[in-house]
């Protein structure tokens, strides 16, 4: 009953004209970002951070969250109509979605993708509504040893992001080292600044995230070819699926919701993993698996539902524990920190109006997206006619202004440029960039927890094992690390 009462309060916050407008803008921009190949939800959220500076925290998180799940909706449009995934999680939708379009069933595929996304997103929000406060309540009992153990587990889970721990763990470590540049949070001693005054406050998350994800992606995109594909036409009157198609989709949608929700709780590219897992599940369960890859509607319904459910579920550890489990949540965290809000165990109790306002707006946002994605599909598709070589100067300018507007400091533009070059270089060398940025965000809090634990125990590391919660988390970290190292060593020696 408490949750329902809080939700009603949340609707009172979300249904103001201003917040409805921000939810709409976020959904629209998110859908555009999802439709356009080359700009993912991370870049989409990052580029709009400067636009949130003039609005309050509630409005900011409403808009940014809307971009995130909006991108999941939009990504399916180009997958189905052009066989080009607009967003990485929509890769799997190309397999059957485009084949359905070639058979004249594009409308049905688009409808089921949008409907499944709405169901998955809505069910994830229900889960979020009940689980996040419980998790936050539990976490308020945590002291420094427990918090450090959680952060350590998070870093090891982050290093499981790629296929090889030897390409991800170093990036986590590099992120932790970069996070220590500037003033030591406990003693005020300057670290690695070499007399440069601009570094006294550290490198800053915004220029690093904008550079690594924004500029880095554009530099990488210059190495990819811009092949034209046939654009399938869709008529509005063919939007509705047949009764048989709808019945075939229901099971896939429900299973996709469950798969997406549980995968979404884990760090990593949950929306991508969940869509792949859902596809494989549907193919395994089907009585006619040979239909998959040739236009099976379950191959669209399941994955599209799963990636939206995962996006919603990813908000649970983010809001409840303050641990962003993927790049989109990481940049949302940056935006909230700029507004003086830190997601975590105390966030839900101390900023209840922000949390419940967000939950309510996610319900509203899912409805807005359902409405946007069906009748306006023709409008969004026309965006695809804009060549990428015309778009990237605009994206670069937005990223530069976004970085500059934070502190009006050109030094941050230099950091932006450096992060872009470093991010691009490491990406070319086969390393993952997302763990670096995530580690930078969590690093300072992890260090404080570590040092405070040792202060409490007068230097004894036994404090980490004295607490059952901390000991369990450390054991889980050790097991996971061992498994990941074994998995990587078992593969053939690294080739480049």
């Amino acid at each position: 009953m408490d949750a329902l009462h809080n939700l009603l309060t949340g609707f009172a916050t979300a249904l103001t004209l201003k917040n409805l407008y921000l939810a709409f803008v976020g959904c629209l921009w998110g859908t555009i970002v999802g439709v356009l190949p080359g700009i993912g939800p991370v870049a989409g959220i990052t580029l709009l951070i400067p636009a949130t500076l003039g609005i309050d925290a509630t409005g900011a998180i409403i808009m940014l969250a809307a971009i995130y799940y909006g991108a999941m909706y939009g990504g399916s449009t180009t997958s189905i109509l052009m066989n080009i995934p607009g967003e990485s999680a929509s890769v799997i939708t190309c397999l059957d979605g485009y084949q359905m379009a070639r058979k004249g069933r594009a409308g049905a595929a688009l409808f089921i993708a949008a409907f499944g996304s709405w169901v998955g997103g809505t069910l994830a929000i229900v889960g979020l509504m009940f689980m996040a406060p419980l998790l936050a309540d539990f976490a308020t009992k945590f002291g420094p040893p427990e918090m450090f153990s959680i952060y350590l587990l998070a870093f090891i889970l982050l290093s499981s992001l790629g296929h090889d721990i030897f390409t991800t763990m170093p990036m986590v470590l590099l992120g932790l080292l970069l996070a220590s540049i500037g003033m030591d949070p406990l003693t005020g001693v300057l670290r690695f600044t070499h007399g440069v005054k601009h570094l006294y406050d550290g490198l800053g998350f915004v220029p690093i995230a904008m550079g690594a994800f924004g500029l880095g992606e554009i530099l990488a995109a210059t190495q990819e070819s811009e092949e034209g594909r046939g654009l399938q036409k869709v008529r509005l009157r063919d939007l509705l699926p047949t009764g048989e198609e709808f019945r075939a989709s229901i099971g896939a949608i429900l299973r996709g919701s469950g798969i997406g929700f549980f995968i979404g709780l884990l760090p990593g590219s949950a929306h991508i993993v969940s869509s792949f897992l859902s596809y494989l599940t549907e193919k395994r369960l089907s009585k006619h698996p040979e239909r998959f890859g040739k236009g099976a509607i379950e191959g669209v319904a399941g994955p599209e539902t799963a990636n939206n459910a995962a996006s919603g579920a990813a908000m649970i550890p983010f809001l409840g524990l303050g641990i962003p489990t993927g790049p989109p949540a990481a940049v949302m965290m940056i935006a909230l920190l700029i507004h003086g809000i830190r997601p975590g165990p105390l966030f839900i109790s101390e900023q209840a109006h922000v949390f419940w306002g967000l939950i309510a707006s996610m319900y509203i946002g899912n409805v807005i997206l359902l409405i946007l994605n069906l009748p306006l599909v023709g409008v969004f598709v026309n965006l695809l006619r804009i060549p990428a070589r015309l778009l990237f100067p605009i994206i670069l300018l937005v990223a530069l202004v976004g970085t500059y507007s934070g502190n009006l400091d050109t030094f941050e533009l230099v950091v932006f440029l450096g992060a872009g070059v470093v991010g691009y270089a490491f990406r070319s060398w086969g390393f993952e960039i997302a763990p670096l940025v995530l580690a930078m965000i969590l690093g300072p809090a992890a260090e404080i927890s570590f040092r405070r634990s040792l202060m409490r125990s007068a230097g004894s590391f036994g404090i980490f094992f004295a607490s059952p919660i901390a000991a369990t988390l450390l054991a889980a970290s050790a097991l996971l690390l061992t498994w990941n190292v074994h998995r990587s060593l078992a593969k053939a020696p690294a080739k480049a």
């Binding site: 763990m169 932790l176 670069l396 300018l397 533009l413 490491f426 230097g459």
Partner: protein, 147 residues
């Protein structure tokens, strides 16, 4: 030297830099860890991981250093132009710098014709100046035009 070894070498060097720089910071005691403690541990692990990756990455095509410039020409152009934007921003102001930046990217990188690049570059510069400077009221540098 293959690509992954190149990356590993960078990690090793950065790790060693962090390690030696941390040794100059106050270490404190285990009961009160100083500013050096955490970065020292992280740097040591980073240097170690760089060394491990370097040792593992035996196979793989060597980096084509001569072809590197040709392959990375477009990214290099973007980086140079972005550096130019940063240098010119405060002096020339946002409006002029953004328009020149847009033109240079469209003409030099995207290879549009001169007049198309000029017109579109100006449009992008003026449009972004209006949206950010006027609508969002971001305090952008005014520079020599005073706008």
């Amino acid at each position: 030297m293959n690509k992954q070894r190149a990356g590993a070498l960078v990690l090793l060097v950065v790790g060693l830099y962090g390690l030696f720089s941390s040794l100059r910071l106050p270490m404190g005691k285990w009961s009160e860890p100083g500013a050096a403690a955490f970065p020292l541990i992280v740097s040591a692990l980073l240097a170690l991981s760089g060394a491990v990756i370097y040792a593992r990455a035996r196979a793989g095509a060597a980096v084509d250093w001569r072809g590197l410039l040709r392959q990375q020409w477009a990214p290099l152009q973007i980086v140079v132009l972005t550096g130019g934007f940063i240098l010119a921003l405060e002096a020339l102001g946002y409006l002029l710098t953004a328009s020149l930046y847009g033109f240079a990217l469209l003409f030099w990188v995207s290879r549009y014709r001169l007049w198309v690049a000029l017109g579109t570059g100006a449009l992008i510069g003026i449009g972004s100046w209006y949206i950010f400077g006027r609508l969002f009221e971001t305090p952008l540098p005014q520079g020599i035009l005073g706008l």
